[in-house]
């Protein structure tokens, strides 16, 4: 099973090496074989007696990150979709993409995606699931950006990446949280300890994080905005990722956690409300689109919303319908995308305003289109699978009887009406798609290419899918017992079996279907009369504007914020740093009661020391007020020599000597350097700046003094120095203890101190001698 998941990745590695032969044989042929093999491998699991299979392969056991695969009905349904539609799409792409395109890249991304998607639906380990999750986002990013010379492609790729990775990261947060609470990374084991999670204080946060992941991936309102822009990808990609599989990963995730999460009332409220909102908004917006793929994108959004809503209902019937619809949607939407691709390929345009009357030119395509779009509309014919699941949806909405109160109860009463409303628009856009493209007046002259029927190869894949639509419609039991039932039971958490019938009698659901049919027809015929409503809703206030504004503002405000403090002014930086140090350290001192003053352990105060100190203070202040550079440097020298004298008084002869020499050389250097630079200018900064500088410097000086005094008052241990005194002669062979410490006890310090001087010398040499051409000027 591991091999099955990794197969696409392994093949992907070899794809670049195939490019040599790509002029002889389209790379797509090799690639098509991969999903076919996977499909066959997993198809053998289908059957009424199916039992979940578990396999474990270690990867990083110490992080609890293992390939723990759990194949139940739900994963099986998804795997067959991924590999089945994958095979058809790969085959279709052979005819869609010309050999001159960068096929190597395309198929590498394609295979990466397929492998990751299989990984998502099979992984029971949350970290591995997340890994594959992000990989689908990335491969989707690369596929949307496949024609990256187009501005729209780059825009769409970034948008999809930002939104889906945002969701991915929240998902990660939620998953880590849950695994932390339950102490396991396995979803099955988490669910067996669901009380721990459900009763946790942070359960609302966990729920939000998980749902954000699912909603962004499955393009739920208001995160759906990336999907229409993702249509910049080549059409096979749209059919595969952005309709049949990847966008259903969110659905899968919700279904996976459903048995646990649906216990919470908030799950019902959020998921079903978001789902219904997405259904209505998506179908409403689809009618407004003029690009064929745009219509299909919004239609996908609305269908995903419908599935999400059903999962949100959480009832037995609703979940069964949801699972059934996942399959049905993949069949009719996959074929519609391929049909849109054919139209685009054969006419050179996807603009529905230019298209029309293509039935005579592309009769086979039109036939396929009529079946698929009528199935999507839920027209009550027994050979359209869309009708079955749509009616189950109505049924679930009407018969839903949760014992809830408050908002949840209100929502429960509203849902049937909203479901009908959304479905009416679904009907409208389905008709709009089909009739707008294939019927009406043909204006061939306006099209970039003269239309003619697509090559057989291109028609095979949509034809197979449409055949699927019909077969499922006519013989639902063919797929029900062997695997829909298993999938529904897995999502529901216990057995969920149902017989699928065409005719239920004059049930409320059927009446709703008829209502949709009637009002849908009326609305479709009168589109021109009410289309102006789109100017009011959404008008200019669209979510896209919001997204664009957000991205643009993120960059703009980042620039403003950053430039407001990162202005290159050293003074500013030092000020900010000092304020932080002073405030936090004083705060710490206050909180921990750090300041102590102990007069007990002090040496006597003598006059000459005080005098030197006073002179040094005056000199130090003198450096600030000095108006002349020579004066300032000499006054600095006074401080240095004063320090040397203190060293003498405090019994540090070596220090005094060193200090004297160093100070003399430094003053000389100062004079040498600043003799060539401009003289000092008077302090002309504003009094505010002066006060601020004063406060900061006094604050910092005070801080250091106070810490010093406390540290001195706090001597808690004897110094290690007695060792040096005792052993200076014995071990170091010298009388001058300081020298022995330097060259012997702490010789390593001295070695590297000399190294520092050496590097300084080299750096100075380089500074003076290297007069390279200044490249950036």
């Amino acid at each position: 099973m591991l091999l099955a998941v990794l197969l696409p990745f392994i093949i992907a590695i070899f794809i670049p090496f195939l490019s040599k032969w790509k002029h002889k044989l389209h790379t797509g042929f090799f690639v098509t074989a991969v999903p076919v093999v996977i499909f066959i491998y997993f198809a053998r699991f289908i059957g009424p007696g199916f039992e979940p299979v578990e396999r474990e392969y270690s990867w990083i056991p110490s992080l609890d990150m293992n390939f723990l695969f759990y194949l139940d009905g739900l994963s099986l349904l998804f795997i067959l979709l991924i590999s089945g539609i994958g095979s058809l799409v790969a085959f279709y792409s052979i005819y869609y993409l010309h050999k001159s395109e960068q096929l190597g890249h395309f198929y590498v991304y394609f295979l990466l995606f397929m492998g990751s998607m299989l990984g998502i639906v099979l992984s029971d380990n949350v970290y591995v699931l997340y890994t594959f999750w992000e990989f689908t986002s990335l491969s989707s990013f690369l596929l949307i950006g496949f024609w990256n010379h187009r501005e729209g492609s780059r825009y769409g790729a970034l948008k999809s990446m930002l939104i889906t990775v945002f969701g991915g990261l929240s998902l990660l947060g939620g998953l880590v949280f849950m695994s932390g609470i339950t102490g396991t990374a396995s979803i099955q084991e988490m669910m067996s300890q669901q009380e721990l999670i459900l009763n946790h204080d942070f359960f609302p946060l966990i729920l939000t994080l998980i749902l954000l992941g699912a909603f962004t991936k499955s393009a739920q309102f208001p995160f759906h905005i990336w999907l229409p822009d993702a249509m910049e990808a080549p059409t096979p990609v749209s059919a595969y990722l952005h309709s049949a599989t990847m966008v259903k990963a969110g659905i899968f995730l919700v279904a996976r956690f459903l048995p646990m999460l649906s216990v919470s009332e908030w799950f019902f409220i959020i998921v079903s409300a978001v789902g219904i909102a997405t259904l209505c908004w998506g179908s409403y917006m689809a009618v407004r689109q003029t690009d064929l793929k745009g219509i299909l994108a919004f239609s996908t959004i609305s269908q995903l919303g419908m599935i999400m809503a059903m999962l949100g209902f959480g009832t037995k019937a609703a979940i069964f319908a949801a699972v059934f619809h996942i399959l049905n949607h993949a069949t009719f939407k996959g074929s519609l995308f391929m049909i849109a691709g054919i139209v685009d390929h054969e006419t050179g345009s996807r603009d529905i305003r230019k298209l029309g009357g293509l039935m005579t030119f592309l009769p086979i395509t039109a036939t396929l289109a009529v079946i698929a779009s009528f199935s999507m509309a839920g027209v009550p014919f027994p050979f359209l699978n869309g009708f079955y699941s749509k009616e189950m949806f109505f049924d679930a909405a009407v018969t839903m009887d949760l014992s809830v109160t408050g908002i949840a109860a209100t929502l429960q009463t509203l849902f049937p009406y909203l479901a009908v409303l959304g479905s009416i628009f679904t009907f409208v856009y389905s008709m709009y798609f089909f009739f707008g493209t294939f019927r009406g007046k043909a204006n061939i002259d306006e099209l970039p290419k003269k239309p003619h029927e697509a090559p057989v190869g291109m028609l095979v894949s949509p034809a197979i899918l449409v055949l699927g639509v019909i077969i499922i419609g006519l013989f639902p039991d063919l797929i029900n017992k062997p695997f829909i039932e298993h999938a529904a039971s897995a999502a529901y958490g216990s057995e969920n079996v149902k017989d699928i019938y065409y005719w239920h009698g004059l049930s409320p659901a059927f009446i709703m279907s008829i209502t949709v049919l009637v009002f849908g027809t009326i609305l479709y015929l009168s589109i021109p009369k009410w289309a102006s409503i789109y100017n009011a809703v959404p008008g200019r206030l669209s979510l896209n504007t919001f997204y664009d504004g957000l991205v643009e503002r993120t960059e703009r405000y980042s620039t403003i914020i950053t430039n407001s403090y990162m202005n290159g002014s050293l003074g500013r930086y030092v000020r900010l740093i000092l304020v932080a140090i002073v405030v936090v350290t004083f705060g710490t001192m206050a909180l921990t009661g750090g300041f102590t003053l102990d007069f007990g352990n002090l040496s006597e105060v003598t006059l000459h020391e005080v005098l030197i100190a006073v002179v040094m203070v005056i000199a130090a202040i003198g450096t600030i007020i000095a108006k002349n550079r020579i004066a300032a440097i000499l006054i600095l020298g006074v401080v240095g020599y004063g320090l040397a004298m203190l060293f003498v008084l405090y019994r540090a002869p070596d220090l005094a000597l060193t200090q004297l020499i160093v100070e003399t050389v430094t003053v000389a250097l100062f004079l040498l350097v600043f003799y060539h630079l401009p003289n000092l200018e008077p302090h002309n900064e504003s009094s505010l700046t002066k006060t601020m500088n004063l406060i900061i410097s006094v604050g910092f000086g005070l801080l250091m003094t106070m810490v010093a005094i406390s540290a001195h008052s706090h001597k808690m241990f004897d110094s290690m120095s007695s060792y040096f005194v005792d052993n200076s002669y014995k071990l170091g062979g010298g009388d001058n203890i300081v020298n022995v410490i330097l060259v012997d006890f702490r010789g390593l310090d001295t070695l590297f101190e000399i190294a520092v001087l050496g590097i300084a010398a080299m750096a100075i040499f380089a500074l003076i001698r290297l007069r390279g051409k200044n490249k950036e000027e």
Binding site: G568, T588, M716, E753, R769
Partner: protein, 495 residues
Amino acid sequence: MSNLLALTIIWPLLAAIITAFFNNKKKTVRVMSQVFTLINLALVSVVLFMISTNGTIILETGSYEAPFGIVLVGDMLAITLVLTTNIVAAACVFYAPKSLTEQQESFFFYSFFFMLISGVSGAFLTGDLFNLFVFFEVLLMASYGLIVLGNGKAQLRESLKYVLINLFSSMLFVTTIAFLYSVVGSVNMAQVSQRVQEVEQQGILTTIAMLFFFVFATKAAVFPLYYWLPRPYIVPNPVVSALFGALLTKVGIYSILRVFTLIFVGETDLTHTIFIYLAAFTMIFGVIGALSTNNIKLIVAYNIIPAVGFMMMGIGIFSETALSGTIYYLINDMVIKAALFLLVGIIAYVAGTSDLRKMNGLIHHYPVLGWFFFIATLVLAGIPPFSGFVGKLLLIQGGLAQEEIMVVIASLVSSLLILFSMIRIFIRGFWGEKQDAPPHPERSGAARRMTWPIAVLLSITVLLGVGAEWFYPSVEEMGEYLMNPQIYIDSVIKE
């Protein structure tokens, strides 16, 4: 055999001296430096192997017993970081010849380079606070030498700020060591730790701890002390930027990690809580900086800061898992930052500009460069299965276990923004219309030769991620080890 540990510091010092004498023989000095670096890499690997089999090596320099002499403490954490340093160094030394001008090479680039390695390794290994100061000065002085190399206008201007800030923080560093010495009467880290714990870190000690934090945080570029960082990092040659980005801030972080797990662990409610907040701010403000500019080098330089935030997060959370996360992240970040700086160096070189707005469609001419950059972006953003993810995952696990929700959310948000800031370069610079010819066709040969050291670094990050099972158990041990300072104390001070 324990003297081998000192050789990991002394060998680069010798190499620096030797190469200084050959500064005018470019070919010789290049080959020599490459050989020396590889020898050092091999040497460190041997020492690492010794330590991993026989346990921590304590080297008492001059054979003066701890705590009186200076000790070098070769524990797994220190030696692993030394090894990573040397890996980065090796990549840089092979990248350098094509990237540097002849003048830069002849003005002691390689000597500064080796001194930097020596200083960084010393800082990782030393067990003595004052000695840590000395090694800080060694690496800073080497970095001063490197940053001014070239003497450009902007370069000198930014170097000046860099030197001034570091000079200030160095002075604060020695003063703080003196304060601590006054209280506990020692500069040996093990003894200091022992004594601080003995008196339960009372009185002024926590205040001194905060001063230490600020000293290291200035080097590590933690909020609100990172202002000095981004610009000086982009003015020198890319290979210098890579060394800085990979090593310098990490020494600061390492010091915080060491000092606040070994010595100052008595008031974690106060100190480590401050760290958590600062970590969150560091992540957010850092990445905001990265989004603020169109200069690709500056974008990468700003991205150093959120990474520092991630590592601080682990120190602040202060649990085994979180500290393991910090260590993993640290190792990963050293490698990936080097790779990124080297990459943007090549990108700017072949594009002839570092302004993103002037680039377009580079991937059509430099596919390998483009895909390397893409992978590096994923590593940086912490996308699994690359190495950035492992550290991030541990940090999030640690954070959630202690219910530090705020910092976890900050880390997730900043991950997204890091990805955004970097992918912009990919989308705007690499994608786009195919030009008939690359902007500077004559540069593609050199670019290709500069790419392969990056390939090595990137494979390491992939290995660290996909093969985490080979590395994580020992990192986990390091986290455990840091949580038990007594092990360190006992290994240094034998009674």
